[in-house]
């Protein structure tokens, strides 16, 4: 099964659910499904700002597993990080996300 994650809520979404659960499982090849994309909203976008340790690990695993990483463009402009993200991380809105996933569609979209 293929899934896409949307990191919408804040709190411990990135530090715990992504950093302590999803990311280590992907790194160890035991997540159980193929992840085709991850989309980040609001402060979750900071995880993909260049220099972030969780973001660096995520970018590395995304390159290896061909996972799309995209942040909400409005969220990034508001936080002044649109041009400060890791190389290869895109910004956009829903049309950009759907277009980017069109060649590798997920079976399920999980909103966290």
């Amino acid at each position: 099964m293929k899934v896409a994650y949307i990191f919408s809520t804040q709190g411990h979404t990135v530090s715990y659910k992504l950093g302590k659960m999803i990311l280590p499982q992907l790194e160890e090849g035991r997540h159980g499904v193929d992840v085709v994309g991850m989309f980040f909203f609001e402060d979750n976008c900071f995880a993909l700002r260049e220099g972030d340790p969780i973001g660096q690990r995520l970018v590395n695993v995304a390159k290896r597993l061909n996972i799309l990483l995209m942040c909400c463009d409005q969220c990034c402009y508001e936080r002044d990080i649109a041009d400060k993200l890791f190389e290869g991380v895109q910004i956009g809105c829903f049309p950009t996300l759907y277009q980017a996933l069109a060649g590798n569609l997920p079976d399920q979209v999980i909103t966290l």
Partner: protein, 138 residues
């Protein structure tokens, strides 16, 4: 004696893409109700149309309509702000490089939005120029 107040690194503050998008929302009277023929589109499914009116050789009013890409809306709104009061020949200098220089926060992936906005604006300017040459009312 030095002030203890924080020193702002950019004063007056530069308006960013985020600011211009929200300015566009507030200035919704700038939105064209009908899309004129000068509709310019790109391969990502975005399109823009500008309408320019002129008075005594200077741009009096600029209106636009575009797809709801955040970056594109903001760049179009900035063109409106820049162009009002300019001569038509000066307004032609508003191009992709000019817009991107004003907005270094636009990532390379979205730099083509600046091309699209400036091309659409130039198409509208061209129409004004043509009408001026013909002596037709705008």
């Amino acid at each position: 004696m030095q002030s203890a107040l924080p020193v702002f690194d950019r004063y007056p503050p530069r308006k960013t893409i985020y600011d211009y998008f929200h300015q566009a929302l507030r200035n919704s009277q700038n939105t064209l109700r009908d899309v004129p023929r000068e509709l310019v589109s790109d391969n990502d499914g975005n399109c823009v149309a500008f309408e320019v009116s002129e008075e005594a050789g200077r741009i009096r009013e600029v209106r636009f309509k575009c797809t709801t890409c955040f970056t594109l809306v903001a760049l179009c709104e900035h063109i409106v702000e820049l162009a009002c009061g300019m001569t038509i020949s000066k307004a032609r200098e508003i191009d992709r490089e000019f817009l991107l220089e004003l907005h270094p926060e636009v990532p390379p992936q979205l730099a083509d939005r600046a091309s699209l906005a400036s091309q659409a604006f130039r198409a509208a300017l061209q129409k004004v120029t043509v009408n001026l040459n013909k002596g037709e009312p705008l």
